[in-house]
């Protein structure tokens, strides 16, 4: 099972390259020229992103490094317990919307503490897949646009986040 997944994953990039370049060759197109031209465009948009990316990294780090997150964790605990969500998952649930790498580290620690095949460990893994880094995605995606008002993106993102958390815990209860 794992091997099959691995294969599809491994094939993704080389497969795309092979297919597209072969198609170009068949059409006798100047693929080298097209490729480098596209690379220039890609690098240009990377450069325009930088100020926004820096701002969002800074904001998220300020929030997590200052201890504000820990406070929120403690404040949210009673509420989460009320919903039947184990205490061990609190920091993962709260960190996940702001930091992908941070929450991955928390996931590793959680699995080490409770075991990867325990109820909490499985819930933590499913939660990491079904819940997204909402604030990070919104910040980075809109950084390349001129949008100031993001309308319903945040509420939809957060409601689905809550649904993902509840869904993860619930499915571990029954499966």
């Amino acid at each position: 099972m794992s091997a099959v997944f691995n294969w599809i994953s491994v094939l993704f990039i080389p497969g795309m390259f092979g297919g597209i370049l072969l198609y170009g060759m068949v059409k006798k197109a100047p693929i080298y020229e097209y490729f480098t031209e596209g690379v220039r465009e890609g690098l240009e948009s990377a450069a325009t992103m930088l100020p926004f990316l820096l701002a969002i990294f800074l904001g998220l780090e300020t929030l997590t490094a200052s201890g504000a997150m820990e406070f929120l964790e403690r404040a949210a605990e009673p509420l989460l317990r009320l919903l039947g969500i184990p205490r061990e998952l609190t920091s993962l649930i709260l960190l996940r919307p702001v930091s992908g790498s941070g929450s991955l580290a928390v996931l590793e620690e959680t699995l080490k503490a409770v075991g990867p095949d325990s109820f909490i460990g499985r819930a933590a893994c499913i939660l990491s897949g079904s819940c997204e880094t909402v604030f990070y995605v919104i910040g980075v995606y809109f950084s390349v646009t001129s949008v100031k008002k993001i309308r319903h993106c945040l509420p939809v993102g957060l409601i689905c986040y809550a649904a993902g958390v509840l869904g993860a815990v619930w499915i571990c209860n029954i499966m």
Partner: protein
């Protein structure tokens, strides 16, 4: 965005003052800026690579024929988007997400957002299509959650893959919820323009 950022910064700084960790905070703030640059440098290479490859696909006409396949689906989700390049960027981003190729997915998503912004005429209000794309991309089902599988394996799990199916069920449910909510909320916005 303005408020979200302000809240993050001020809440963090306020907390730091209360708990007396200002010196560590200053340090972390500088480090995060450095990290942003490193992240972008790593990302820029991948961005260049995909952007180059997609340019080949675009100029040779491959994208044109490919997007035709996904047209029935994208027409329902993004009724206002007709540009082929935009659609192909969106489809590629979904595909990369499905495959669990995180960095590549981000690259295509950013390209798609850029193109959607152009279609939106650079307006300060996000278009329906932008919101739908962003939300759908966030809650896209992942066929191969490589990172989580790796973490489980490292933690000594007896069956790392045992979470794949339940995770997919939950993800599919949140994805449907995301699309439905998005549809409901977009009607509230003034004018159903792009």
């Amino acid at each position: 965005m303005n408020y979200i950022w302000a809240v993050m910064m001020l809440l963090g700084i306020g907390f730091s003052i209360c708990s007396g960790t200002l010196s560590e905070l200053g340090q972390s703030m500088m480090e995060s800026c450095e990290e942003a640059i490193w992240f972008l440098i790593g990302m820029a290479g991948v961005m260049g690579m995909w952007s180059g490859l997609m340019n080949v696909a675009k100029k040779t006409g491959l994208i044109q024929s490919m997007t035709g396949m996904f047209r029935p689906l994208t027409r329902r989700l993004f009724p206002q988007v007709n540009d082929q390049e935009t659609i192909s960027a969106m489809v590629m981003s979904f595909a990369a997400n499905l495959m669990g190729a995180g960095n590549s997915a981000t690259v295509f998503s950013l390209k798609a957002m850029e193109l959607l912004d152009r279609e939106n005429g650079g307006r300060p209000e996000a278009s329906n299509a932008m919101c739908m794309f962003l939300v759908l991309n966030m809650y896209m089902v992942q066929l191969i959650p490589m990172t989580v599988l790796k973490v489980r394996q490292d933690a000594g799990s007896a069956s790392p893959e045992s979470i794949v199916v339940p995770a997919m069920i939950v993800e599919a449910a949140t994805m449907v919820l995301a699309v439905v909510l998005c549809r409901l909320l977009e009607k509230r916005g003034r004018g159903n323009r792009l």
